[in-house]
Assembly symmetry: C2
């Protein structure tokens, strides 16, 4: 069976793709979609290419859409004074931080839906996680179910009776569990990139939400992050 | 109140925006979003700029996303042998034609949703029409309602209790009724562009679904299309 995976180059989407593949006994034919949306750094895209190669992806499509024009996020802004937050208490923070990109997962899933219809994929795999995450609304299970309901009505395939399923293998896992599953599957997290705002050297800042959640996950999994070796 | 209008440069979105504005006694502050998605011709974008100007749009954002990479539509293909269908019987055809662009309205509404959240717009106006249309699944009322349900879950604004409404002033109108309403509002349809595949001169082909539906609409409204004068 064919599936589209939204692949960012981060740890989560890499693991989600690998779990989906491992869970499919018939062999999953993975098509990867990476969106270049004006995030602060290009390293994510390079990591996505490395990860796609490691996963044995059949096709890797990179689409560009400049969400900086829409704005509303510190993740897509280079404006002076608009910084990615650092040193937040990610374990207990409950607000939605400035790195939230308005409607990002809706946009990404819509693009994946279009491609799924064209290539006849029945599944879309997305590495959203509603446990150790930054509180983004479009990572929650109820959002995913609403998107599936929309997908059934949105496409020619849907009209003809096909259902596109959105698979979220990480949605109920802690970051530590994600890393444990990935390591058990033999994944090389040295290929990935998580930092929201790396310095000129490309090294992770260690202080943004994404770095902090990753560090917490590796610590709780009792593993060493290969990026920090 | 502020609203996003998806403005293509065609007759429908122009009229939808004008009706939404006329229907809002408090005065609607319209922000127009035009998506350049790799359609066959650039004339649509020029028409969108003319129409935005005529409507007194506060801001006009043009976003580019190359849906040709996704494929699956004669509207975004320049491949030899992939042609926009001509001379179809648009009044009675019931199949979904090759000009269908997979998930297009889902993608467009998602982008509008992101911008709506950033600028605090409560409404998205879209000129879909489920009567005199080409049978596209993402023009139907049930699709629009499903998108509204998704929007309520997808965004920070939704989490905080705001509802984004998708307004479809044309959804139950015939093409003739759309044109009658527009003419009554003083719209200049000479500014618009409808043809899916104009020749090098820019003149409408007169034979694609879009030209045929437009001609049928003007004929039934008893009006002359200024583009054909």
């Amino acid at each position: 069976m064919r599936a589209i995976v939204l692949l960012s180059g981060g740890l989560d989407s890499y693991t989600a793709a690998a779990i989906a593949k491992a869970d499919d006994p018939g062999g999953l034919d993975l098509y990867a979609l990476t969106i270049s949306y004006g995030q602060r750094h290009a390293q994510e895209l390079e990591a996505a290419r490395r990860v796609a190669c490691a996963l044995g992806i059949s096709r890797h499509l990179e689409l560009a859409i400049d969400l900086r024009a829409i704005g509303g996020s510190s993740l897509t802004s280079n404006a002076p004074g608009v910084d990615v937050p650092r040193d937040r208490d990610v374990a207990s923070a409950s607000d939605i931080p400035s790195t939230y990109v308005p409607a990002r997962n809706t946009i990404f899933l819509s693009l994946a839906l279009g491609w799924a219809e064209v290539v006849g994929a029945g599944d879309i795999v997305i590495g959203v996680n509603a446990l150790d995450y930054s509180g983004y609304p479009d990572c929650r299970p109820e959002f995913i179910r609403a998107f599936e309901a929309l997908a059934a009505l949105a496409t020619r395939a849907g009209v003809e009776g096909a259902r596109i399923r959105v698979r979220t293998p990480l949605i109920a896992l802690s970051k530590a569990d994600i890393i444990r599953r990935g390591l058990a599957l033999g994944l090389d997290y040295g290929l990935t990139h998580s930092c929201y705002d790396p310095g000129a050297s490309g090294a992770p800042c260690g202080r943004c939400d994404s770095c902090l959640l990753r560090a917490k996950g590796f610590a709780e999994a009792g593993a060493v992050d290969p990026l920090l070796r």
